[in-house]
């Protein structure tokens, strides 16, 4: 039985290309065949979760049924009533499987949970978001079939980008006019080819060629202050480059493929390395994730804190929420000290950044602002981010706590 990593090798792209031809032709002539879309979605899901990975496939089916039941059940309930505790209970139930999957390796010595599968986080984000918008009343006509298509949309199933139900539904229910669609094809093809450059050339070079060498050199140079050495610094930059090109490359494939299917899945990266501060960085890096956290954790928490008057000072509210928000993101990556430290680091960085921006606003005359300071800001931000990725990489864990 064949089994593929999504976008993993040329064969996958060849199959993808052939499978998309009828769909592209249909869209060019103003038709969208739901049936065909469903068939190729299932086909690619089988390619990803079938064969030797069938246990993941079973986990996916069970998980999806569970989430659909919850979301649909809540949507039906919400038409009649709107109780807070019920809503909280449903959200907790919805994130329960993800929580189990994330906590299992930490308590079971690195063993992976049986109910996990590739992409479970991203599906949870989509389900929870649908539930929250149902509660807000912004999402009124929930439909099971559309929701299934939204959840199982194969180009983005394994690692995002995280689309929103209402945005997806709008694209899915309509057919773009020919000119718009031709534009989408053009963009989609370009994205996929830039993705090739990112993922198969640059990420390969940084991740497969340079990184193992630096890792070995760094491990051999242990013994100094905190076991740090020049190779560790090299590792930090090379790992950051690898992380960016690998994930941005993958995202370009996912977005490009969506475009060919006439769905304008949102972009995940927008030149993150030119951010002048850490807040701007999170508006450019893994955008759909950070916006998800912004809309469904940060904003909600801020409202909750303000409503219940937990903190007198709105600044304190914002700062505490930053930290909580990033800590949750850290925990979401996995329950290890380095992911959590990574989250904490970014939380603190956001707090400091806010304080600095306020200070700068107050002392406009005394704080210089010119081309040099802007370059410096970009340089500083990029280096801070790279340092946070060194924490994230787990290399320090290997450096300090292994033989």
């Amino acid at each position: 039985m064949l089994s593929f990593e999504p976008y993993g090798n040329p064969t996958y792209f060849a199959i993808l290309g052939v499978a998309l031809i009828p769909l592209v032709i249909g869209l060019l002539y103003g038709r969208r065949s739901r049936l065909y879309e469903t068939i190729i979605s299932i086909f690619f899901l089988v390619l990803t979760f079938g064969g030797p990975k069938w246990t993941q496939g079973v986990a996916l089916i069970v998980y999806i049924s569970y989430e659909v039941l919850l979301t649909w059940g809540y949507a039906v309930y919400r038409k009649q009533k709107n109780s807070g505790p019920i809503f909280y209970l449903m959200v907790i139930l919805a994130i329960l499987p993800l929580t189990i999957v994330k906590v299992t390796p930490a308590v079971e010595n690195g063993q992976n949970s049986l109910i996990g599968f590739l992409g479970i986080s991203y599906l949870t984000f989509r389900a929870v978001q649908t539930m929250m918008e149902t509660r807000d009343g912004t999402l009124k006509n929930f439909q099971i079939m559309t929701f299934l298509q939204f959840m199982l949309f194969f180009p983005t199933i394994s690692s995002g980008p995280i689309d929103r139900y209402r945005r997806f539904e709008h694209d899915y229910r309509s057919v773009p006019d020919r000119d718009t669609y031709l534009g989408m094809i053009q963009k989609g093809v370009r994205y996929i080819f830039v993705g090739f450059l990112y993922k198969f050339i640059l990420a390969y070079y940084f991740g497969q060629i340079l990184l193992p060498r630096l890792l070995q050199m760094g491990m051999q140079a242990r013994g100094g202050f905190l076991d740090l050495s020049w190779p560790v610094l090299g590792y930090m930059y090379v790992y950051s480059a690898y992380l960016f090109f690998d994930f941005a490359g993958y995202s370009l494939f996912a977005v490009g493929t969506s475009y060919l299917m006439g769905i304008a899945t949102p972009m995940n990266f927008k030149q993150p390395w030119r951010s002048p501060n850490i807040k701007d960085f999170w508006n450019r890096w893994h955008i759909t994730l950070s916006f998800w956290f912004r809309d469904f954790i940060y904003m909600r928490l801020v409202f909750w804190f303000m409503k219940h008057r937990v903190f007198k000072n709105p600044r304190t509210t914002a700062n505490v929420t930053y930290i909580i928000n990033m800590l949750v993101m850290g925990f979401w990556h996995g329950v290890t000290w380095y992911y959590i430290t990574y989250g904490l680091f970014h939380g603190c960085a956001l707090v400091i950044n806010d304080a600095w921006l306020r200070y700068k606003k107050k002392h406009r005359e005394s704080v210089p602002h010119n081309r040099f300071t802007q370059w410096f800001a970009i340089f500083l931000t990029a280096n801070l981010v790279c340092f946070s990725f060194l924490i994230f990489s787990g290399f320090l864990n290997q450096l300090w706590f292994t033989n």
């Binding site: 064949l2 060019l28 020919r178 031709l182 094809i185 053009q186 093809v189 080819f193 051999q220 033989n403």
Partner: protein, 429 residues
Amino acid sequence: MAKRLLRIFGPIILAALLVLAVFVSPVTFGFKHVSAGEERQAAVSLSPNVLKGKRLKAAALGENYVPFFGSSEWSRFDPMHPSVLAQKYDRSYRPFLLGARGTQSLTQFFVMQNIQGDLRHKKAVFVISPQWFVKNGTRKDAFGFYYSQLQTTEWLSHYRHDAIDRYAAKRLLQMPVAQSDHFIYAALQRVASGKSLTDYQKVYLRAKMNMLTQEDQFFSGINLPSQNLNKVMQQTKKLPTHYSYATLNRLAGQLGKAQTGNNRFHISDTFYKQRLKKVIRKGKLKNFQKNLSYTQSPEFADFQLVLDQFARLDTNVMFIIPPVNDRWSAYTGLSKSMLRQFDRKIRYQLESQGFTHICDLSHDGNVPYFMTDTIHLGWRGWLAVDQQLNPFLTKSQPAPHYNINDKFYSQQWQQLPPERLAAYKVTSK
């Protein structure tokens, strides 16, 4: 619309056609030529790409290079290393080092598949590491690292329909990496079950082989590591102008002594510092090899594949059996009697089938500065190898007479307890 679609997809289609044309075409685009400099680099590079490819090996072996099959010992470039001695004293042969950490018999069997022409009626050298013959044989990930689809497709284009090839196919199917190409995987299943390949499979394999050959010709010369050649050249400077065993032996002792000062095992300082010092301080290595055995292993059957291949090609081979550093094995508790049993078992497999050129150094683990670290030959060890290797390669040898016996593929042989060897010699056929 058509115009716009052509603008979008035209370049892709054109690019795809060009790539296809290059890979499918039998023309070699002038990349076939390999310069002498490239050959010298490739011969000592120990790069996995050289091992997995064909172009560089075939070009060098077509001249005065001799294949030296082995594993991690090749990377110990001291002045007595075979490549250094051959270079310095301008011998009539030059070693082409094949193998690195993790390459074992099964990998070497496939390496031999696309240099058959250069092995037939020629000489070769093969280092047998006792450490290969552990309970589970070759590691699946290590085999995967050195696996070459090019070699597999070449093998499938000339395999014979006998028990040996069925065994090779079965072993390959046990490796996860065999699934890297679904069509090759299906073909291997047919070979393993004794069926011949379908016409469709033959066409596919031929096309694939052609494509991989083109790929090898384009890319094998790129990024060829040069640091090992530099090391070899550096080391030649330490040798006296004229070869004299006595002088070299003295020099080997001096060099060994100078480079093994920081530990009681006579292990090279850098190796000790990088790999052992920290762990030894924690006491984790004391007696850790007490129950290790090299006498029962699937590796014995994999090794038989190699012997079979040499016999089929009438290759005259010198086998080298290195010892284990005595001071080290005493510390780790590795049993000396077990090593002797291994030696007897492997020698029986070799000698009973007519492989009589054996440079057996298994008793020399106590000679000072024979080993550069725990299990790898160094200074005096390399020199001892040279004592037998040089005459073997430079003088003409009588043609070998091999009589291969399939019993060495059997489970019984692989798992034969060493104390039953004497009885086995008498009773088995």
